[in-house]
């Protein structure tokens, strides 16, 4: 509890009052000690902390929670959250961020390395992605060495030699065939030795689990390059034509259905999984709680009062590094209105990934309620 400013230890009114009630603090005013009644009457007011807010505060403190005032400026904005930027104001937050972000990048570089490796080591047939353009020149170069005159380029990748840049045997790439170059460019050989020093040639060790997942992924993925017709395509235009041809084929029996403006949502001769089909014929899209929040104007009617942290023993709470709160608390009473959807959306958005709990004070009783986003479960058996 407490904070220091201008070199002094200070207490917030609710903290001082709570300590007084626990018998741990004596407050003096004009050299006379405050009674607890004085504390209630002087410290609690609508402009600082209301009685109801104090009731919730004291209730949580008595249960052992660490309760701080909520400062909206300390909550990372959605933009900051999205970019995972470090918090500039809160050193503790930055530390936490750094710690948290330490592991994912290493993993992702691992992934990338793995990917690179696959490209390097892959046999020449499997290219077909965007990377292909990069390799094309090499393919060309190597291929044309052997068959210099093939007017319509129909590449047989299986026969094309692919330079293994990772191996030590080829420290030098020979210069390409000048007939392949778009103009009279003098292109010499390329020494790849300095470049090879820069790349990481260590073998990626995959854990058994990763390997399994990898294999799984490959099993379920139908390789489009294995398709006979696709293999016969010589360029993208032909491939696109093929796709169009395939898409048009089923218009034989129920052609009349597709002739009009209104067409069926789905052609029954295209078998797709049930889940996909249901998704396709869905009329209303389900929305989630945070949808469209950014366009809602904020209001002062509902505001978060407290950050609640779990007690020291459970979470190892440190004041210098409070971390993410356990919950955030709003205070209201049964006399007031129930928060509407707009208020709930705003509160949830403001709080980010920390749940917002609404403490309802009814005289001495305090009950806690949460509004949660609920997605209807979908059970589809294919």
């Amino acid at each position: 509890m407490g904070f220091s400013s201008e070199g002094k230890q200070r207490l917030l009114p609710e903290e001082a009052l709570y300590l007084m009630e626990c018998g741990n603090l004596q407050v003096f005013y004009q050299d006379l000690p405050f009674s607890i009644q004085d504390g209630y009457e002087s410290f609690l007011s609508p402009s600082t902390v209301s009685l109801q807010q104090y009731q919730v505060f004291a209730h949580l403190k008595r249960l052992g929670y660490v309760v701080h005032r909520f400062d909206p400026s300390l909550v990372p904005s959605s933009y900051t959250r999205q970019l995972n930027l470090p918090l500039s104001r809160d050193r503790a937050g930055r530390q936490l961020k750094r710690k948290r972000s330490a592991s994912p990048p290493s993993q992702s570089t691992g992934d990338r390395m793995q990917e690179d490796k696959r490209h390097l080591a892959a046999p020449a047939g499997s290219s077909g992605t965007a990377r292909r353009t990069w390799w094309d020149t090499d393919d060309h170069m190597e291929r044309t060495k052997r068959q210099p005159d093939s007017a319509p380029p129909h590449w047989r990748f299986s026969s094309i030699h692919f330079p293994d840049l990772g191996s030590t045997e080829t420290p030098l790439l020979t210069s390409p065939d000048p007939s392949l170059l778009p103009g009279p460019f003098p292109v010499g050989g390329c020494d790849i030795a300095p470049w090879r020093q820069k790349i990481n040639l260590r073998k990626v060790k995959m854990s058994a689990k990763d390997q399994e997942r990898d294999e799984d992924k490959h099993r379920h993925q139908r390789d489009i390059n294995k398709d006979r017709e696709v293999q016969q395509c010589r360029n993208w235009a032909e491939y696109r034509e093929l796709l169009v041809r395939r898409g048009r084929r089923p218009t034989r029996r129920h052609e009349c259905l597709w002739n009009r403006e209104v067409t069926p949502l789905h052609d029954p001769r295209h078998p797709i999984p049930t889940a996909e089909l249901l998704e396709k014929i869905r009329v209303t899209q389900s929305t989630h709680l945070l949808e469209g929040v950014s366009s809602i104007k904020g209001s002062d009617e509902w505001r978060i009062c407290f950050n609640v942290y779990q007690p020291d023993l459970v979470a190892g709470f440190k004041k210098s590094n409070p971390g993410k709160p356990y919950t955030r608390m709003c205070v209201c009473s049964f006399d007031g209105p129930v928060p509407d959807l707009r208020a709930i959306k705003l509160l949830t958005f403001q709080s980010g990934d920390v749940p917002v709990v609404i403490a309802v004070v009814d005289q001495g009783d305090i009950s806690f309620y949460t509004f949660k986003d609920f997605q209807l479960p979908v059970d589809v058996y294919p």
């Binding site: 709570y18 007084m20 009630e21 626990c22 018998g23 004596q26 004009q30 050299d31 006379l32 000690p33 009674s35 607890i36 009644q37 004085d38 209630y40 009457e41 002087s42 609690l44 007011s45 609508p46 209301s50 009685l51 109801q52 009731q55 004291a58 209730h59 008595r62 249960l63 052992g64 049964f334 309802v360 009814d362 005289q363 001495g364 009783d365 009950s367």
Partner: protein, 282 residues
């Protein structure tokens, strides 16, 4: 203390003070006399001896708006003097306070010395005794008395719950003007108040029933000794009610083994009570 025997026709006024527009009672006698009037209220504060729990709480006592209005209509409540209008010389009070602290310090010092002596004696008697030992013991006791230091910071102080001054002398309670105003006056609370007064007139104790989704919990006697029998829900006599609401409260009432009373205030201070029962026919 309790209620004085052969009390004057009107018992002394209950001192109420407002905190953030909530009526709070602070003095022990007031709490007693309010309870004697069959008003329950809610305790809010931490218990000084066991502050870190929520099951048993202590002063202040928060009154329901209806309870506050009962007190003011019976001319039984007055405002506690505020801190700054309590009057008196501040310097004099500071001097009194310091003298009191000094007196308390002396007393505590004597007690602490006694404590230490008895601790020393206990250590002695636990070990085997001898002639020479007794002499050293006396010397030690003497030395302890000579060197005994009791730092002022080790002194225990008392934090008073209610504001000091009025609470000490009981005759000053009569000085309170029983002129607490009726503050809350909107039609909904008028309806509630009529129900509250009627049920109270019939000898029931009432508390707030927010946790049961009603207006009042109705106890046949003191809530410390009885379970509530009814959940009172105040509805207006001439407005239609949604049947789902009725079903919801009736269902809830049967689940917690209480009868739901639909209470509507009638035209001349009487109240109509209706209970809903779910009758299973098989």
């Amino acid at each position: 203390m309790g209620e004085p025997e052969g009390a004057p026709p009107r018992p002394p006024a209950v001192g109420v003070s407002l905190c953030d527009s909530a009526p709070l009672l602070w003095r022990l006698e007031d709490l007693r006399s309010v309870r004697a009037r069959a008003l329950v209220g809610t305790l809010l504060g931490s218990l000084p001896r066991t502050p870190r729990q929520n099951l048993r709480l202590g002063r202040p006592l928060l009154l329901l708006p209806e309870e506050e209005r009962v007190l003011s209509e019976e001319h039984a409540a007055g405002a506690l003097p505020a801190r700054d209008q309590q009057g008196g010389d501040v310097e004099l009070k500071v001097r009194q306070h310091q003298e009191e602290q000094q007196r308390s310090y002396e007393e505590q010092r004597v007690l602490a010395l006694e404590d230490k002596k008895s601790a020393l004696l206990r250590v002695r008697t636990a070990s085997p005794t001898g002639e020479s030992r007794i002499r050293t013991r006396d010397e030690r006791l003497h030395a302890a008395q000579q060197n005994f230091g009791f730092p002022p910071s080790a002194m225990a102080v008392q934090l008073s719950t209610a504001r000091a001054g009025l609470a000490h002398c009981s005759e000053s309670r009569a000085l309170l003007q029983a002129d607490w105003p009726i503050r809350d006056q909107n039609p909904r609370s008028a309806n509630r108040y009529q129900v509250f007064r009627d049920l109270r007139r019939r000898g029931f104790y009432l508390t707030s029933a927010g946790k049961f989704g009603g207006d009042f919990l109705v106890y046949p006697g003191d809530p410390l000794r009885f379970h509530a029998h009814f959940i009172a829900v105040c509805v207006s006599a001439d407005e239609s009610v949604c049947v789902l609401d009725i079903l919801a409260v009736a269902r809830l009432g049967s689940n917690v083994k209480k009868t739901v009373l639909l209470c509507s205030a009638g035209p001349d201070a009487d109240v109509l009570y209706t209970s809903v029962q779910w009758s299973g026919m098989s």
